[in-house]
C-alpha cells in the first residue's frame, strides 16, 4: 500500500474546512467537516489537537512521549498522520 510520506520537519495543521473540538456529550474529540463528523479515539485526539501548523512532527512526537511518559512513538504518530493527510483531516505545511 502506498502511504503519504510524513517528513519529521513538516508542520501539520487541521485541514481547511475541518474543525477539531472536544465534545463532552460524546466524551471524545470530534473532527467536524461539511455535513459530517468523525468521533476520534483517545490517541487520534491527542495527536490532532497538537497539530496547530507551527509545531513540527518531531516536536509533536516529543511532546506526546513526554505527556504519556513513553518512547518510540514516531512510527505510530507518522502512520496516523499519513492516514489523516489522505483523508484531508491534516495538511502538511513547510
Amino acid at each position: 500500500m502506498n502511504t503519504t510520506p510524513v517528513p519529521l520537519t513538516a508542520k501539520p495543521a487541521v485541514g481547511r474546512g475541518f474543525r477539531l473540538q472536544w465534545e463532552p456529550a460524546q466524551n471524545a474529540h470530534v473532527l467536524l467537516y461539511p455535513e459530517g463528523m468523525v468521533k476520534l479515539n483517545g490517541s487520534a485526539g491527542e495527536i490532532l489537537k497538537r497539530c496547530d501548523g507551527t509545531r513540527s512532527v518531531s516536536a509533536i512526537v516529543e511532546d506526546l512521549e513526554q505527556a504519556f511518559d513513553t518512547r518510540d512513538l514516531t512510527r505510530d504518530v507518522t502512520d496516523f498522520m499519513s492516514f489523516a493527510v489522505e483523508r484531508k483531516w491534516l495538511e502538511l505545511r513547510e
Binding site: 456529550a25 460524546q26 470530534v30 467536524l32 467537516y33 455535513e35 463528523m37
Partner: protein, 372 residues
C-alpha cells in the same frame, strides 16, 4: 440514548424557487407563523446542550430570513459546525461577508441543471446566471465550493455537462443527488423518475469523470433507492441522530416525517427540546424494533437498515410500519418495480407526458384543499 448529533433548522418555507422536486410538504402554505429569532436561538442552545454538533440551515431558502447572520453567529459561538443549504438567491457580497464574519463554516449551493434553460425551467425562475455569480462569491470568500444538483428524468441525461459545469466553477465537491420522492417530488413522481438506463448511463459518466479528475474534485452520486433491492438506513432509524425543526417550531425525527399519521409531533414553543428528544411519544414511536411488522421483524438485516424509510412505506403502502417497499423482501416491492417500469415506458415516449406541478403557494393551497 444517543444525542441528536444532527440538527436541521428549516428556518422558513419561503423560497424564491419553485422546484417541482422539492421535498417540502405540499401543504406548506398552511404554515403561518415562523419562529422568531429568539425562539430559534433558544432551540440552538437547548439542542447544543443535548450534544447536537452538526447544524444544517435550510428551508425554503434560509436567506429569506434577514436574521440568518444572527442565528449563524449564535450557533458558531455555541460550537456548532454550521452548514448553509441555499439556492444562492439573496447571497450578495454584503451577506456572505457578514455570514463569514459570524462564523459560517460551509455553504452548499444548488443548481438545477447545467443549462440556463433547464435550470430556469425546473426552478420556475431566472436564476442560472445569478447562481454562477454566487459560486464565484463563495470561492472568493475562501469556502470550499460544494455544489448540489438534484437529478431526475429531465436532467439526468445532462450529467456530463453538469460535471463540466462543476469543473468550470472550480467545485471541490459535487453531490449528484437523485430525487427522493417526498413532498412535491412525490406529487410529481411520474414526471421525474428516470429510467434504469438513464441512471446507469449517468453513473458510468460520473465514474469516467472521477477517473479524469482524481483528487481535484470529490463527486458523490446518490443512487435513487427505487433502483435498489435493499432500503436505505433512513436517518439511521428515526429518533437516532437527526432532529429537524420545521419553520413553525414543529420538531420532527426527519424532515419529511410530518406526513406520518397518528404521531403528535411536539412543538418547541410548547415543550423543551430535551423532553421532545428523549421522552415525547412521537420521537419514541419508531425507536428500536418493536414497531416493526413482518418481514422486517424477523429479518437479520433490520439492525442495518431499520426497515428503510417510514415515509416511503407510508406513501406507498398506507402504513408507516410496513417494510420500505424498496426492499425486495417487501410484499409491496412491486409498487416500486412498476413505477420504474412506467418510467422506462414514459422515457420511450410510450405514455403521455405528465404535467409538472411547481412548488408555490397557490399550488400548495390547491393540493392541500386549503382555501385560506
Amino acid at each position: 440514548m444517543n444525542p441528536p448529533l444532527w440538527l436541521l433548522l428549516e428556518l422558513t418555507y419561503r423560497c424564491p424557487l419553485h422546484c417541482a422536486f422539492c421535498y417540502n410538504p405540499t401543504d406548506f402554505a398552511r404554515t403561518e407563523q415562523e419562529l422568531s429569532t429568539d425562539e430559534w436561538i433558544s432551540v440552538l442552545r437547548q439542542a447544543r446542550k443535548l450534544g447536537a454538533v452538526q447544524l444544517g440551515l435550510s428551508g425554503g431558502e434560509p436567506l429569506s430570513r434577514d436574521d440568518l447572520e444572527l442565528i449563524v453567529g449564535e450557533a458558531h459561538s455555541l460550537g456548532f459546525y454550521t452548514n448553509l443549504v441555499t439556492s444562492g438567491v439573496g447571497l450578495n457580497e454584503k451577506r456572505i461577508g457578514a455570514l463569514k464574519q459570524a462564523g459560517l463554516d460551509h455553504i452548499q449551493l444548488s443548481f438545477q441543471d447545467s443549462t440556463r434553460e433547464l435550470n430556469d425551467f425546473l426552478s420556475s425562475t431566472r436564476t442560472f446566471d445569478l447562481k454562477s455569480k454566487v459560486a464565484a462569491l463563495i470561492k472568493q470568500h475562501d469556502y470550499p465550493m460544494v455544489l448540489n444538483v438534484v437529478l431526475h428524468r429531465m436532467n439526468i441525461d445532462h450529467v456530463e455537462q453538469i460535471l463540466d459545469m462543476a469543473e468550470r466553477l472550480g467545485a471541490d465537491y459535487l453531490e449528484l443527488a437523485n430525487t427522493q420522492y417526498y413532498g412535491w417530488a412525490w406529487h410529481n413522481r411520474e414526471a421525474l423518475l428516470p429510467s434504469r438506463e438513464q441512471v446507469e448511463r449517468a453513473e458510468a459518466a460520473t465514474e469516467r469523470f472521477r477517473q479524469k479528475m482524481g483528487d481535484r474534485m470529490r463527486v458523490y452520486f446518490v443512487v435513487p433507492d427505487y433502483f435498489e433491492s435493499r432500503p436505505k438506513p433512513c436517518m439511521n432509524g428515526l429518533g437516532s441522530v437527526f432532529l429537524t425543526i420545521s419553520p413553525d417550531g414543529t420538531a420532527l425525527p426527519c424532515h419529511a416525517a410530518k406526513m406520518l399519521p397518528g404521531l403528535d409531533f411536539p412543538n418547541v414553543k410548547d415543550a423543551p427540546v430535551e423532553w421532545i428528544w428523549r421522552d415525547s411519544p412521537a420521537f419514541n414511536h419508531f425507536r428500536g424494533y418493536e414497531w416493526m411488522k413482518e418481514p422486517c421483524r424477523s429479518c437479520p438485516e433490520k439492525t442495518k437498515d431499520f426497515g428503510g424509510c417510514r415515509c416511503q412505506a407510508y406513501l406507498m403502502t398506507g402504513d408507516a410500519a410496513n417494510a420500505d417497499p424498496v426492499c425486495d423482501l417487501s410484499p409491496h416491492h412491486h409498487l416500486v418495480t412498476e413505477a420504474v417500469a412506467r418510467a422506462g415506458r414514459a422515457q420511450q415516449g410510450v405514455v403521455e407526458k405528465p404535467v409538472l406541478i411547481f412548488r408555490d403557494a397557490r399550488n400548495s393551497r390547491t393540493i392541500s384543499g386549503c382555501t385560506g
